[in-house]
């Protein structure tokens, strides 16, 4: 009924205690749980742009990281671009993969399952006639997304399937891709 826990200590590099502590703190003070994340994007040239990510709001205050991260994006040569970086949809696919993978590590730690290797392949199908405005019945976004995990862990097949399922249940990017979100775009 309950998930198994094994005798030997499990280390997936996840501090479950801290996460459980955060749950307790947010239960006491729900307003501290309100976070705002942000990314700044600068056009470089053509279809190339560069996003920089640093500050975020959370726990009632603004946070600055030690390091500013940067993610570039471009389009491949078949779209007459320079192919200097992945496309935005590929970045979205990698965001989904990272979100689910990190979730698997956290859930595995909580359930006492030692992971040895986790790899996934994410594919998104897209009909280009959508973004080219050729057919209103074809959407711009992916018509389907497939994620395939290969996991080596000290657990049964069903327990591994349950890890992957629970990770989806708690994943931000999985939620973003499977459910509608109100998006407000303004010009400052």
């Amino acid at each position: 009924m309950t998930t198994q826990t094994q005798d030997k200590p499990v280390s997936n590099g996840v501090d479950t205690e801290a996460l459980i502590g955060a749950r307790g703190a947010f239960a006491e003070m729900p307003e501290a749980a309100s976070f705002t994340f942000r990314s700044t994007c600068d056009w470089v040239d053509g279809s190339e742009s560069r996003s920089t990510i640093n500050g975020y709001f959370g726990l009632g205050e603004e946070h600055t990281r030690k390091q500013t991260f940067s993610i570039s994006s471009d389009h491949p040569e078949v779209f007459a671009a320079r192919d200097s970086a992945p496309t935005p949809p590929e970045i979205a696919l990698s965001a989904l993969a990272s979100c689910l993978t990190g979730g698997i590590a956290a859930v595995a730690q909580h359930r006492g399952i030692q992971l040895h290797d986790v790899q996934c392949v994410v594919e998104g199908d897209m009909d280009m006639r959508g973004i080219l405005g050729m057919d209103p019945d074809i959407r711009n976004g992916f018509s389907a997304v497939r994620v395939t995990f290969a996991i080596d862990a000290d657990a049964s097949d069903d327990d591994i399937r349950a890890l992957v399922a629970q990770s989806q249940k708690r994943s931000t990017v999985f939620d973003l891709m499977t459910n509608p979100t109100n998006v407000h775009v303004a010009v400052a």
Partner: protein
């Protein structure tokens, strides 16, 4: 103004069980009932509903099923008669047609205001049930006016549903039962499902409730689970009380021609949007029931239960390749929406500071505050707390607590 030791609010199985336990302990009490005994069973459910638990499982303090068919499932008039007979047998002091307007503190006592006068009492037992009000999601407000909306309170039978398509929202016991009967009545039915748990009516030749009961799953206590909030939110099994229906899970419903989609996530400009998470919800349901059945198998092996057919695996839930993500509620294909989105207890008359910020009643295994108790909520003390079979044990425990509390106050 009348004074009494204890006021019990609600004359369903919980209120009656509590009345029996208090009578056994010579505690003066009255049961206030807004309608008649077993009112919700009689009036507030849909016509075809039968208990999800077999007759033998409707055990109450000092009372049990004695009819010829212990493995059958009571329909609504049968459970109503069963509880009215119980009220008679235990000689319950029920004041019918008495609606409680408010419960407030009154010094060390409670003041219970009703349409038939007020009561001052030392103890209040809230036994109005977990299913007093059908819950509707906020997005019901966004449904176009051309679509008729029914709730678990207003839906009675397929006869009242206009010809045409129906969207049933919710994939637990109520949703799957209503979807099935609407489909049988000739409606094109779409069922929107989020988290759900499938269950076979019978497993290895025994009713699933036999397994739940005998293996001890229903007796699991609050302290035995690591996340009680989550355990209290677990939805009801996809089951129906019909010995002829072996399963009413999503495979069965799809074989009947019902279309399944993900959770109804939003309605924007009349467009219903369904979540793309259906496959994961089906996987989770398969895994959960698989774990439960293996738990039963292990228990049966350990106990050496004789004459059991071999262990079985359920076929995985088959998920459509590309479930619908959108449906235009303005195009006439869906004429009716049935919200099978659960119930809430409806404690608005309980005017005490005993609710969390989400409006959920705070209680410690049924003890709400000094002199205030609740009964019949999901996993209140044990997993079976919200079942007819579970209120008896809880009522005994709360009665004992009430007596100890009374003696402490008097000392």
């Amino acid at each position: 103004m009348r004074h009494i030791s204890t006021v019990i609010i609600g004359a369903g199985q919980a209120g009656l069980a509590m009345s029996k336990c208090l009578s056994d302990r010579s505690v003066a009490h009255v049961v206030l009932e807004r309608g008649e005994v077993a009112q919700s069973w009689m009036k507030d459910r849909w016509d075809s509903l039968r208990l999800l638990t077999p007759n033998w499982q409707s055990r109450l303090p000092g009372y049990g099923f004695k009819g010829p068919d212990p493995d059958g499932y009571m329909n609504m008039s049968q459970i109503t008669r069963y509880l009215r007979d119980y009220a008679h047998v235990i000689n319950a002091s029920v004041e019918e047609h008495t609606t409680v307007h408010s419960v407030t503190s009154h010094g060390n006592s409670s003041l219970v205001r009703t349409n038939k006068g007020d009561w001052i009492c030392d103890h209040v037992v809230v036994a109005s049930g977990a299913c007093a009000r059908p819950k509707l999601p906020q997005l019901a407000d966004a449904v176009p006016e051309s679509v008729t909306q029914l709730s678990l309170g207003t839906y009675k039978s397929p006869d009242q549903v206009a010809k045409g398509g129906v969207l049933v929202v919710g994939g637990s016991a109520s949703g799957v039962q209503i979807a099935a009967e609407l489909s049988n009545a000739g409606h094109a039915v779409t069922l929107a499902v989020g988290e759900h748990i499938r269950a076979p009516r019978r497993y290895r030749g025994r009713d699933i409730q036999w397994w739940m009961d005998r293996s001890g799953v229903l007796d699991v206590r609050v302290k035995d689970v690591d996340d009680i909030d989550r355990a209290r939110r677990v939805p009801s099994f996809q089951l129906m009380g019909d010995p002829g229906v072996d399963s009413i899970d999503l495979n069965t419903l799809q074989a009947m021609g019902i279309v399944i989609t993900g959770r109804l996530a939003a309605i924007q400009d009349g467009m219903a949007q369904f979540s793309g998470s259906l496959a994961n919800h089906c996987t989770m349901s398969d895994l959960k029931i698989g774990r439960l059945l293996r738990h039963f198998d292990d228990w049966a092996n350990r106990m050496g239960i004789p004459d059991l057919p071999d262990a079985q695996q359920l076929a995985p839930t088959s998920v459509p390749n590309s479930p619908y993500l959108m449906s235009d509620l303005n195009d006439g294909a869906i004429r009716t929406i049935v919200w099978a989105t659960g119930y809430s207890p409806g404690f608005s008359w309980l005017k005490l500071p005993v609710f969390d910020p989400k409006g959920m009643l705070i209680h410690d295994q049924g003890v709400v505050a000094s002199g205030v108790y609740v009964l019949g909520l999901p996993f209140m003390r044990r997993r079976k707390s919200a079942l007819i079979d579970g209120v008896g044990g809880d009522a005994q425990a709360l009665s004992d607590h009430l007596i100890a509390n009374r003696n402490r106050r008097a000392a």
